[in-house]
Symmetry: C2
């Protein structure tokens, strides 16, 4: 749990987001090594996830939140390519539909929580309802202020009732790197489709978003559902760190293949019996 511990956001330490690094210089130095290591960690995740699925006693919910271009999609693609599509689901939460808006903000999220044995990834989540909803004043302050506690209670429900481990990633990126990535989207034709004018509009709200993330992390990083602040200026080390934290979490959950439903000795005895019979038949024929 070394990596996990290092990047866990501990509200007790009163960490200011502005003091936390957006780049791990040391780690970013050796991209070739990091790539090789990532492949290894990804395959460990695949193995652990499959055991979790077989065990069917606990589940994992991983939440990704970040400003645009910090790499939510990239992480999900690169870290999770070794997991089995059986038992793994990614859910992207876009703007709520009018039907969803008529219910509480956790309604659409609860619909998609993992069943026992499942590993679910939320690309954006119920945290949008204390982030964008706050920054753009989609609801009054009195409403979003109450939501931190409602979120903690909800995540506690998942933990208590279904042994669901909830871990949440904030991909921490500097404004300069965001601008460079936006530029990249303009020049690299394979990335043109990602550009929207909204990206640049949202940049205007940078400080307000950081303020919103700060309070979110302060109030919802709990022992049953911690936040991790991962430096995201360098893509490869970002992917590696996320992978290591997921791998460490799964290891800590310690899933086990279930005992066989059948009595193996009885099955062995019947196999032995069948063998004797078959032998006798062969001898008769000979």
């Amino acid at each position: 749990m070394k990596t996990a511990k290092k990047y866990m956001f501990n509200p007790g330490n009163v960490s200011k987001l502005s003091d936390l690094p957006t780049l791990d210089h040391e780690l970013a130095k050796d991209p070739a090594h990091n790539k090789k290591l990532l492949a290894k960690v990804a395959s460990e995740i695949g193995e652990l996830q499959w055991t979790l699925y077989a065990e069917k006693k606990q589940s994992l919910l991983v939440v990704f939140q970040a400003l645009d271009a910090a790499g939510k999609d990239g992480v999900i693609r690169h870290v999770l390519d070794e997991v089995s599509p059986q038992g793994v689901t990614t859910v992207s939460f876009k703007q709520p539909s009018s039907n969803e808006k008529e219910r509480d903000f956790l309604w659409r999220v609860h619909l998609r929580t993992p069943a026992r044995g499942e590993f679910t990834i939320f690309n954006r989540s119920h945290y949008e309802d204390v982030l964008v909803a706050r920054v753009h004043e989609l609801v009054p302050k009195a409403v979003w202020k109450k939501r931190f506690e409602l979120i903690n209670q909800f995540e506690n429900l998942l933990a208590q009732e279904c042994n669901t481990r909830v871990i949440k990633f904030y991909l921490h990126m500097s404004p300069d790197v965001q601008l460079a990535r936006f530029k990249d989207r303009l020049t690299d034709e394979s990335k043109n489709w990602k550009i929207t004018e909204a990206d640049y509009n949202e940049r205007e709200y940078w400080d307000k978003y950081i303020e919103a993330f700060q309070e979110t992390l302060d109030r919802t990083s709990t022992s049953h559902a911690p936040w991790f602040v991962v430096p995201a200026d360098d893509k490869i080390s970002r992917n590696l760190l996320v992978a290591q934290i997921i791998r460490d979490t799964l290891k800590d959950m310690n899933p086990q293949y279930p005992s066989p439903a059948a009595d193996l000795n009885a099955v062995r005895a019947r196999y032995h019996e069948a063998e004797i019979k078959a032998k006798a038949t062969r001898q008769k024929k000979a």
Copy 2:
């Protein structure tokens, strides 16, 4: 709110279920009058529900819990026959499916909560998970003990986020009346279909159920989601009391038809214009 107040279960008063009446003798004296009154109250509920639906700002969730034959189905049929099927839904919760069992006990319930403007009736509910689950030891004590708090938090979420009024009915019946109704199911052919052997088996657990209801009422009758204990030995007065409490609750919610989306003066002006034009056309033709 007179009737509502009288039958509301106030945990502060430390009411023992065994001290609360299963029959309101005074009220049960005049069934003809009660029937007439029920028809009136039911139509008031219909009117209020339609306004709630038009308003689309708040919602009502009514939960029915009781031992078998206390009248959950009967109440739902007789009290709610005047409401519009538009905006009103009844959900019966049976034994959870294997898919439902793999999630927390509130998952399948959250799926069916009312949208703004809606009036939803739960015939059994998440309370089964602290009643039958406890009596038949389907989950360990440590699990069901935690659920009272999880339920209060969940009902609070509905209240906070969607102005959902939650009211919960325990239909309070004596063991003798249950036996008489079981007998009735045997003799009245139109009721034969309701008989199961399970009915008689469950009777063995009567005291354990009352104990479970007692703690449930003590711990989950909150200001945002109160329980009502309604005497249920007499069917007509039981129906009337439930109807009055629902009517009083809806009145207290005070739904209002929304203001028209269009500017009525502008619409009137255009109508007037059209009239003048039509008149002119008619005069030309003449």
